[in-house]
């Protein structure tokens, strides 16, 4: 976690940036693989969503938390959280509309693999929810304006009261 220097300013590290540049795409792809392939092997939407979030966190460490937040600015995480939940709910309610029970994939009647595709869509929705919550949580924790209210915090080697201070 050497993304920022002791004065709270982001310091570039060639080793970390290069490593993350190589690894992050694979982590991201593996996260999607775990989400999609949860039907055939270990994994599922929850685990895959965590891995996708981990890829974003890697980028934040390598290229600076503020820079990554600016890159992800806008309603992206909110859309992921709400959209994932809505997709899950719509798939469930849609089956009721088509005279089935909640989440009764057979009601969609789209052939022998229809159930499997329905399950994979639900997994994707869960993955979007989980990754959106974790990424939003990370950026909220890391920006950390909520600690600055303790104005009487003693000076120490961590410079704790500085917003976006040293990341351990």
């Amino acid at each position: 976690m050497s993304g920022t220097g002791s004065d709270g300013v982001y310091v570039e590290s060639t080793i970390i940036m290069t490593t993350v540049r190589v690894i992050a795409p694979f982590v991201f792809t593996f996260g999607l693989f775990v989400m999609f392939h949860g039907a055939e092997s270990a994994g599922g939407g929850f685990q895959g969503g965590v891995l996708v979030a981990a890829a974003v966190l890697l980028l934040a460490f390598a290229f600076g938390i503020d820079a990554t937040r600016a890159w992800l600015a806008g309603p992206l995480t909110r859309t992921a959280i709400a959209g994932g939940g809505a997709a899950f709910a719509l798939i469930g309610v849609g089956a009721i509309v088509l005279d089935g029970a909640f989440l009764e994939y057979v009601a969609y009647d789209v052939g022998s693999t229809g159930v499997k595709y329905g399950i994979e869509l639900v997994e994707l929705g869960i993955g979007a929810v989980v990754s959106g919550v974790l990424v939003g949580l990370f950026f909220s924790l890391a920006s950390g304006d909520f600690t600055t209210s303790t104005g009487d915090a003693p000076d120490n080697e961590r410079d704790a009261a500085t917003p976006g201070g040293e990341e351990a």
């Binding site: 976690m1 039907a39 055939e40 709400a82 899950f88 399950i119 909220s140 915090a153």
Partner: protein, 180 residues
Amino acid sequence: MTSEAIVLAAVLTFSALGAAAAILLRDVLNAIIAFAAFSFGIATVWVLLAAPDVALTEAAVGAGITTVFFLVTIAKTVRPGGERLFERIEWRSVAVVAILSGALLATVGSLPAVGAADAPVATSPVTEYYLANAYSETGVENAVTAVLAAYRGFDTFGEATVVISAGVAVLLVLRQEAYV
């Protein structure tokens, strides 16, 4: 002892040492790293016990994301001074932990052995139904996914709702002007 049991014992010992270090180390950063090692050990235990879905969750959440969140959080805290490596032991806390652990360990004797063929979960007609029909009814080869997303889909929907509600609540509490 079979070689599997030896590996399991070794990983469990590693996990126990990691947990002890996480409790005893005085510096929070050291404790967090020890806790991540503990989580990694437990994830390996799940793999050895043939529960890859749980292992993946433990490794990604316990050893990965949680560690990062802890690190980001302690970056805002004050590091206690002093040279001591280990925390002073609080005997009242030890007593509470001993009582709780004792109560939990007392139930271990009534659990079926790991992998026992006559364990209730293995002989239950529900289990047999899932194993016999999951593939033909859902088309997915991972029976865990079939249960989570199809047979128990409503429960999973509840879990997703919990994640959304908790996430939205925390994001609102930590709300920043620039973000969320």
